[in-house]
């Protein structure tokens, strides 16, 4: 008899878990590092304040700039257990899901909430696919940023460079003075790829940049070739010796503790520095990567609604999207995260000087999107491209011509019209 009761209890427990799972608001993200974790917690608390009756299950999956989380999401969707919503980079990373018909269009929500009036056109484009909206942007990050240690610059009497060439000559001076010119932490290859990407934007300009990722221009183009040459020069001569064993935040740490003078990183670095208690324009300075002034290389964290949600869950998802798209929701999250609101009508009060400046420039700059962060190009290409860049980076004996040929072959293999159709 006792056994029967044990069985009944187990059954009841399992059943109740299933019921709870179906009525929970379950959200997946990859925000686990300092700064970003506090930001998502603050946003979720705000959501809880607005909708106290919704049970929230937050599921952060660390690592791989979202690669690990997407592996989880894909298996959940295939198993017919989609989460209520999940973090995705708008653009190609989201197109992957829409191409496979795994997301529900939310055009009606965009229209009824009047969002088409408050987000920049380029951001709208990245959140939509085939004429329909599929995601809501929570923030805008800027990838093409140079962060520098103000006291080192003062001590060495250096001016903030204005062109990419200037940047390299400043690196030379910093190296002679005994500091690390540029901190990089590319244990996971993408931060090194960012050095190339932002260099490409600065040297070749936004038009060639877009054409490059559309497969229309390759490394044989003189300005792309120059960007490649600079990239190899920087990685060989001006970065910290231990770059291969560090992560992006540890590299920012070298700038924070005065060992390195500069780093090229997206403005999540802003969140990292703020988290350390440092002050923008006092302890650390930030400018667009020299040569790319007037261009805003955006990375957007967005949230979509997966297919196959129950009616209740869909309502929850809509509530969440309305929350994060609201003026207050965008302000709460981005103030901590270091990024800026995707809405252009959020007041600047409470944001730090780097953010205020970026909020101004988002309205006037030419907008392009980052390939390293999955917006500008399809994932299979991005992985192959990042790896190919490490090959030319670690083979200094490879001539520039050989490197160009090798990299062109990778582009030709992955950036085919078929792979780029969407």
């Amino acid at each position: 008899m006792k056994k029967v009761w044990v069985l009944v209890t187990i059954f009841a427990l399992v059943a109740s878990f299933t019921v709870i799972a179906a009525t929970k608001f379950s959200i997946y993200d990859w925000w686990t590092a300092g700064g970003e974790k506090q930001a998502i917690t603050a946003e979720i608390n705000y959501f809880h304040q607005l909708y106290p009756n919704i049970v929230i299950a937050q599921n952060p999956v660390a690592g791989g700039a979202g690669a690990n989380m997407h592996a989880v999401i894909k298996s959940l969707i295939f198993a017919g257990l989609p989460p209520t919503t999940f973090q995705v980079h708008a653009g190609w990373e989201m197109y992957e899901y829409t191409k496979a018909k795994l997301l529900d269009p939310i055009t009606n929500l965009w229209q009824s909430e009047g969002w088409t009036k408050v987000f920049p056109k380029k951001i709208e484009e990245l959140c939509s696919y085939d004429g329909k909206f599929y995601a809501v942007p929570m923030d805008v990050h800027r990838a093409n940023m140079l962060w520098y240690n103000i006291s080192i610059f003062k001590k060495l009497g250096l001016k903030v460079p204005r062109t990419f060439e200037d940047l390299i000559s400043v690196m030379k001076k910093i190296k002679t003075a005994g500091y690390i010119p540029l901190a990089v932490g590319d244990r996971y290859q993408w931060p090194a790829a960012m050095v190339f990407e932002e260099g490409l934007l600065a040297v070749a300009g936004p038009k060639t940049y877009d054409e490059f990722f559309e497969g229309k221009v390759n490394y044989s183009n003189p300005s792309v070739k120059k960007a490649l040459e600079d990239f190899r020069d920087i990685m060989e001569n001006y970065v910290n010796k231990n770059h291969a064993s560090l992560t992006w935040d540890q590299a920012c740490g070298l700038v924070a503790n005065g060992k390195a003078a500069m780093t090229i990183m997206g403005d999540w670095a802003n969140g990292y520095f703020m988290g350390l208690g440092l002050k923008a324009n006092v302890d650390y300075g930030a400018v667009a990567v020299p040569g790319s002034q007037g261009v805003y290389n955006i990375v957007i964290d967005a949230f979509p609604v997966p297919k196959g949600l129950s009616k209740v869950q869909k309502e929850y998802a809509y509530d969440w999207l309305k929350t994060i798209a609201s003026v207050k929701g965008q302000a709460i999250f981005n103030k901590i995260k270091g990024s800026i609101p995707a809405r252009i009508d959020v007041p600047t009060t409470g944001f730090n000087t780097v953010q205020v400046n970026n909020m101004k420039e988002l309205k006037t700059d030419i907008l392009v999107s980052s390939a390293v962060h999955g917006s500008e190009a399809p994932a299979p290409f991005v992985t192959a491209w990042e790896n190919a860049l490490t090959v030319v980076q670690y083979h200094p004996s490879m001539s520039l011509e050989q490197a160009v040929n090798y990299l062109n072959a990778v582009n030709a293999q992955y950036l085919t019209p078929q792979n780029l159709s969407h």
């Binding site: 191409k99 590319d186 231990n242 291969a244 064993s245 790896n387 090959v391 083979h395």
Partner: protein, 291 residues
């Protein structure tokens, strides 16, 4: 049918079913997927023949590097863990004081998650303020940029994994050594076998089954090496430490080349089989002889 057989079947059947589904059915599934065109997010079941295998073996720099790395790693790792393991087990078997303590010390690394020990080794290897670097400096030796150099990254990983798994081979050998009847050793000593000769002619042949077990486990481990590499270098710099298992993960989950990932998995599986199947035969033979 007699009752006893029924009872036995009743006990074995659930595990047969579970193993059947979760091991063998999934192996079959993976083999099946490797012959499809599922190199997109959504399943594509159209038949691709050997395309995924051919694309790995022709003109795929990364996979070629992976195989070279894996077969460079393998002998160092296997011989390293086995020789060290045998040596430590012999020392422990001499009736040393605090044997239990030492045994724990040697076995401890094995109980640490590879992710944790990988992170620790990353700190140790740091070329600017790592412990190894400081040691080299103190000894007035040139420092090495371990994980950041094409030539030292793989040796660095070999050292870390040998450290992690030597405790395992030690315990296998210790069990083997304890299983040798004392009379045989005494008899050999009476016959004048001492020192190295005793080891070479008596002890090493007597622990042959431990050697085979350790060898197979270590080979199989080195063919599937993933976690520690993922944490320490994620295959870099420039594929210098990349291995098939790392590539399998990247291909399947980052690039959505599910069929290609499955093909890599099948290749790893076949390589492992090539070691394990002969082992099953020899293992059977040894027990028969011993009986």
């Amino acid at each position: 049918m007699n009752k006893r057989l029924l009872g036995t079947l009743g006990f074995i059947l659930p595990s047969i079913i579970i193993v059947g589904i979760f091991v063998y059915a999934f192996i079959a599934w993976t083999v099946g997927v490797s012959f499809t065109n599922w190199n997109t997010l959504l399943p594509d079941w159209s038949f691709a023949g050997f395309h995924n295998y051919m694309s790995l073996f022709s003109n795929n720099l990364r996979f070629r590097m992976d195989l070279i790395n894996n077969f460079t790693f393998l002998p160092f790792f296997v011989i390293g863990t086995m020789v060290l393991g045998f040596f430590l087990a012999t020392l422990l078997n001499t009736g040393v004081k605090f044997e239990g303590f030492f045994r724990t010390v040697f076995l401890l690394p094995m109980s640490i998650s590879l992710v944790v020990s990988g992170t620790i080794w990353v700190w140790l290897y740091d070329p600017t303020n790592g412990a190894i670097d400081m040691l080299l400096k103190a000894m007035k030796l040139p420092t090495i940029n371990w994980l950041g150099s094409m030539s030292f990254a793989l040796p660095a990983i070999i050292i870390a994994t040998i450290w992690q798994y030597t405790g395992f081979t030690t315990s296998i050998y210790l069990a083997g050594l304890r299983g040798i009847p004392q009379e045989i050793i005494e008899a050999a000593k009476l016959d004048g076998a001492h020192g190295l000769r005793l080891y070479w002619n008596i002890i090493i042949p007597m622990v042959q089954s431990s050697t085979v077990t350790a060898f197979v486990l270590m080979v199989q481990l080195s063919l599937q090496m993933f976690d520690i590499i993922w944490v320490m270098t994620s295959g870099g710099p420039a594929f210098a430490t990349d291995m098939p298992a790392v590539y399998m993960f990247i291909a399947s989950f980052k690039q959505n080349f599910v069929a290609q990932g499955a093909a890599i998995a099948v290749i790893i599986f076949l390589l492992t089989l090539a070691v394990v199947v002969p082992y099953l035969f020899t293992a059977g033979k040894i027990t028969e002889e011993e009986l």
